[in-house]
């Protein structure tokens, strides 16, 4: 299960709608030591892909190192990533699975023509065979 404040989730959805029809991506930060996986901060990242931006995203290693070191100063770590699927369901593609890292939560937001969005969370199985769905607990207080 991954816990995330409704306001942060809305921030992600807003970015996803705003970025349509291109893929939008970013990093989820939270305390690693916590018993539950909690997202406390969301860092939008510019999609580093130069081509096919409607169906591909890339967060380069260099950028990830910067985000990680900034986060660690605040006692936070990278717990996952989000990206959008424009006009495509919020389930991982084969491409997502092939490129997935274990342990991280992959939040996928489907978006269609700037309309409604569906958000689902996924984590890679140990044998890399599939991304398994993880429950999202949206916190509203």
């Amino acid at each position: 299960m991954i816990r995330i404040a409704a306001a942060l989730l809305e921030e992600i959805r807003h970015a996803v709608r705003h970025g349509y029809p291109e893929e939008v991506c970013g990093v989820l930060l939270g305390p690693v030591s916590a018993r539950d996986r909690i997202v406390l901060r969301v860092v939008p990242v510019a999609n580093a892909r130069e081509e096919e931006r409607a169906r591909r995203y890339l967060i380069p290693a260099e950028r990830l190192r910067e985000i990680e070191s900034t986060a660690q100063r605040d006692g936070l770590d990278i717990v996952g990533f989000y990206h959008s699927h424009p006009d495509h369901p919020a389930i991982p593609s084969g491409y997502d699975r092939d490129h997935a890292w274990p342990w991280y939560t992959y939040l996928i937001v489907s978006v269609s023509a700037g309309n409604g969005t569906v958000t689902r969370a996924w984590r890679l199985a140990d044998d890399r065979s599939a991304l398994q769905e993880e429950e999202i607990l949206e916190e509203t207080s």
């Binding site: 591909r56 890339l58 424009p86 495509h88 593609s93 092939d98 992959y106």
Partner: protein, 505 residues
Amino acid sequence: MSVTIRIPAALKAYAGDGKEVEVAAGTLGEALDRLVERHPALRPHLYDERGALRNFVNAYVNEDDARALGGPRAPIRDGDTITIVPSIAGGTGAAHDGRGETLVEEPQNLAEAMHARSRDVTLSAQEIRRYSRHLIMPEVGMEGQRRLKAARILCVGAGGLGSPLGLYLAAAGVGTIGIVDFDVVDETNLQRQVLHGTRDVGRPKIASARDRLLDINPNIEVIGHETPLTSQNALEILEPYDVVIDGTDNFPTRYLVNDACVLLGKPNVYGSIFRFEGQLSVFHAKEGPCYRCLFREPPPPGLVPSCAEGGVLGVLPGIVGTLQALEGIKLILGRGDAMIGRLLLFDALALRFRELKVRKDPSCPVCGTAPTIRGLIDYEEFCGIPQAHASEAAELSGVPELTATELKRRLDRGDALTIIDVREPHEWDIANLEPYGARLIPLGAIPERMNELSTAEEIVLHCRSGARSAKALRQLREAGFRRLWNLKGGVLAWSDEVDDTVPRY
């Protein structure tokens, strides 16, 4: 020389929960080799199947990107720190290149994707022998056979169409065959569903299908999805496959498979059968029309009977299912002209094939230029199934019913009852209640032959399972008959409750 490798949080669990690992090595490549030797669980996450470092795994030596230092050959000095840093990539798109080549041109269509994936598989000497009749044709050859081995094809249904389909896909060497079915083998299936045998009656179809396919070809993998295909699970079930082949026998599932394939960008090899006629096409919205371009809406329930109601010649699904296997294999090989934009009509009695052009409909609600269906819907509702159940229930309500047991008791008591069978003459030949005095007046002949009946008689109407006789009862009641009964459950109930020598059909 001793160096420290820093393990990212995501991989700690695969490295004995350590944040850092000390190894002795002279180059970056050696250091990573030592690391995965010590912690083999790390290997699949760092290296691909061919043993190359995954392209989304980046290494830094101290503060420098290792790519600038010579990659795996980058020299390491005593006391250096190697940091493994992920890059994060993903996105939509059905193309699986499976090689983790994020930054290279990605195959856009199925043929290109299969070409790329064929390079990841090899054929053993035994497989080369097995497939030799394929391999000696240049149109298939080694690459084509490797494409088939790398391919993932999903068969929706392990029934009449799914049987020949599965048999030929397995024999042809399609590496991964998925089957969606949650039915069990019934005796009435065996007349056409050649995947299953007499000894399989009562077993799940998935189980007997798996046994049969692996017996034909133990080199393949059969994945069973023993669940009804629904709007909730369809996208997840279909997603990993390259080609979907629709062998369903009902409209809700057919529209569901179509819409899911359109949303996922996958080709859908469609086949359908009824009595002596079959249809075949390939719906692939990226390149042509989809099922909804051809049939915008389903027929009203009951208008087109299912095979269970209308019957089907056993060999017909053998022909249509085999054609579906052919189209699926052609799509994987990228050879020939796929049935995209064409609908094949087969008439078994005339032995005639006809072909119609099907055009993409720009106003199609799911694959047109302004689609209104952007996710899966309630297909039972869309096809009017709940509404039909409700009207059927309304039709049966208010119809006086007699159970088979009650009827038998009253006949034994010597009550004067007139039993009218409203089925068709060929059904009468299969099983009838003639020994109890039943007479045949088919439903369609009731209006003209009701003068053979008297309103003074007490009449029991029956058919196979009770629906047609309820219709006949209403017609007679409107004509003024009052002493009427409907035999609940028809001749099937009679066979169950009273006399099991009356055959069920």
